[in-house]
């Protein structure tokens, strides 16, 4: 099949232009890109400001709303504990389902202590040794979590050997660099 001739090509800008040039009324159509460049420049500056080279090292659960804080302390990659009003999840695995018995006492939760101890022991075996950086946990709690539940999780962490407990929060403006 032969290539279509110019006459068979649908009416395009190029075709029209050719026709116009034959008539001697050639007008060069130029697109004014300046305003678009202005807009793109603003967009690029804004996006560069919110650019994160470190990437997201924490996965936020849909089941909870984190509280907001002015704290500016950078998050580190640690063991994640998610505390909602329904369950306590360690490293993506639900460990304790929250009911009245869990909210009724103030001591460490044995099942959670056991799971956290196992995790610490596993880390120790895998690396041969364990340093202070590995004895940290990040706790993601829902805004409506009750203090007793948070305190039980924190005391469970302390009993299992996780000496440092970090509360994960959403940073709001007004914080001081640490």
């Amino acid at each position: 099949m032969s290539a279509p001739t110019k006459r068979h090509v649908p009416l395009t800008l190029g075709y029209k232009k050719n026709k116009a040039s034959v008539r001697g009324k050639d007008k060069k159509v130029t697109l004014n890109l300046t305003s678009m460049i202005d807009m793109f420049t603003i967009l690029v500056v804004f996006l560069l400001k919110s650019y994160s080279a470190e990437g997201q090292i924490v996965t936020l659960s849909d089941a909870l709303t984190l509280p907001e804080s002015r704290s500016d302390q950078k998050i580190e990659l640690n063991l994640e504990i998610i505390v909602t009003n329904d369950a306590i999840i360690v490293d993506g695995e639900p460990i304790v389902f929250v009911d009245e018995s869990v909210l009724g006492e103030g001591n460490p939760i044995p099942v959670l202590v056991e799971r956290l101890s196992d995790h610490l022991e596993y880390t120790r075996q895998m690396r041969g040794t364990i340093d202070e950086a590995e004895m940290k946990v990040n706790i993601q709690g829902d805004v409506a979590t009750r203090a007793i539940l948070l305190q039980r999780v924190m005391s469970s962490c302390a009993q299992a050997g996780y000496a440092t407990q970090n509360l994960t929060v959403i940073k709001v403006e007004g914080g001081e660099e640490q």
């Binding site: 890109l33 678009m36 690029v44 509280p67 998050i75 009750r146 940073k171």
Partner: protein
Amino acid sequence: MAKAATGRSHRIRHSPELDLLPIMNLFCVIIPFLLLSASFLEISIIEMSPTEGISAGAGTTSLAQSEEQQLQPKIILTNEEMFLGTVFGTRSISRVFLENRDGEMVNSYDYEVLSDALGDFRGELDAAFPTIPVHKITILTVDDVRYDNIVMTIDVCAIHGFDQPGLQVAAYSVLQRQILAGAGGVSP
């Protein structure tokens, strides 16, 4: 009539046109890349310091405790009131009021009054014990205080240099004993 010769050349001046297409191409590549790697939600952490259990003899300090531990303030959150317990005594800060947060009416406290009180305490502390740096603070709450109220309290404390918060939860009766025991305090 012939045009008079001016002696000037009549070259047509073309205004130089900048070819913006390569810049547009560059932007078209950069913008999707930046959109993908932009983080619009910034996550940070609050490092909690370990706390000790509440002693039966509330308000008394043992000799074994460090000077900083003896001076560290306590913020007591109950379902009715917020208190500030310091070495100078325990006093009420604000009553609980209801606040609408995301369409839900929840208990809240007056954090501005707390900020003023902590600022005053920091001033008194620096004047009375200038050599002892106090950074620790204990948040002492009843069972059902909301997590966001705890975080807001920690935020206010951090503004005044109390940036090593600890959390303790106790029954209301225990907190009552703490408040009564700390009502005396010492003069600054």
